[in-house]
C-alpha cells in the first residue's frame, strides 16, 4: 500500500464509520425511512453483520422498526458493528 493509497483508505474508512453513526442516529430518533435507506447502501459484509446482530438480539423474532424499542435495537446493532470496525472488539 502506498502512502497515497493509505491516506485515501483512511479518509474513506472515516467516512464509512461516520455514515454508520448517522444511520444509527436516524433509527434512534425514529427516522426509519432514512435509516433503512442508509442500511441498504452499506457494504454487503457490514449489512450482513448488522442483520446477524439484530437477529441475535431479537432472539430470532421478526421486528417492527417503527416500534421504538425495535428501532433502538437496530441502532444498537449498528453501533456494535461500528465498534467492531473501529477495532474495539479485536483482541
Amino acid at each position: 500500500m502506498s502512502p497515497e493509497g493509505a491516506a485515501y483508505g483512511i479518509e474513506e474508512y472515516s467516512k464509512a464509520l461516520c455514515k454508520q453513526a448517522e444511520i444509527a442516529e436516524a433509527f434512534y430518533y425514529g427516522r426509519i425511512g432514512e435509516g433503512v435507506e442508509g442500511l441498504l447502501n452499506l457494504p454487503e459484509d457490514v449489512r450482513l453483520l448488522i442483520d446477524q446482530l439484530i437477529w441475535d438480539a431479537a432472539g430470532g423474532q421478526a421486528i417492527d422498526p417503527t416500534d421504538e424499542a425495535s428501532a433502538e435495537l437496530i441502532a444498537d446493532a449498528i453501533l456494535f458493528s461500528l465498534e467492531e470496525q473501529m477495532g474495539l472488539h479485536a483482541s
Binding site: M1, P3, G5, A6, I10, Y28, P43, L79, G87
Partner: protein, 182 residues
Amino acid sequence: MGSTAFPSKEMSQMASFEARMGDDLSLQDIEEIEQQIVIQTTDKTRGVAVGLLNRLDAKKPALIDREINKLSHASDLISKIKILSSLIQYLPPEEVTEKLDEIQFEASLVDDPKVRDAVTEQLKHLQFAQAKPVIHDLKDFVDRLKKVGHAVLNTNSLAPMFAALSDYQVEQIRRTAIAGCA
C-alpha cells in the same frame, strides 16, 4: 559518533511539540498536540513523549474550569453547544445531561424558529452521543485518523499509520482503499 552530536529527527520533532506547549493553549490545542505526539512517537522518543503527555495532562484541570466558566457566561445557545461539545469528555455524564437539559429549555424559549431548529438539531446529536458513548469514541478515533492521514502524506511513509493504529485497523484501511480502487 556523529549520531550523538546532533539531535535525531525524532527528538527534534518532540522538541517542536514542547515548543508549542505555551500557557495560551486551549483544550483543543492540547488534544491536537497529544494526538500528534502519539502518532510521531517512536521507541527512541517514548520516554520524552510520556513526559510531554504528563505535562499536557497537568494543564487540563485549569482549562476545564475556564471552559465551564465560559459556558455559564455564554449568552447565545450556539456558543453554549460549542463549548459543551468540547467539554463533554471531561465532565461526568450526569452533569452533561443537566447542561443539555438547560440548553434544551433555553432553546424552547427562542422565538426564531430557524435558530430553535438549528439548536435542537445540534442538541439531538449531543443527546445521542450521551445515550450512546461509542459516538464519543468515534469522534476521537476519526480525529486521530485524520491526523494519521496527514502524517502519512507529510512523511510520505506508512510508519505513522503503523505506529498509531492496530493491525486490525490497518487491515480495515487496506480493505477500504482496495474497495475504493476497484
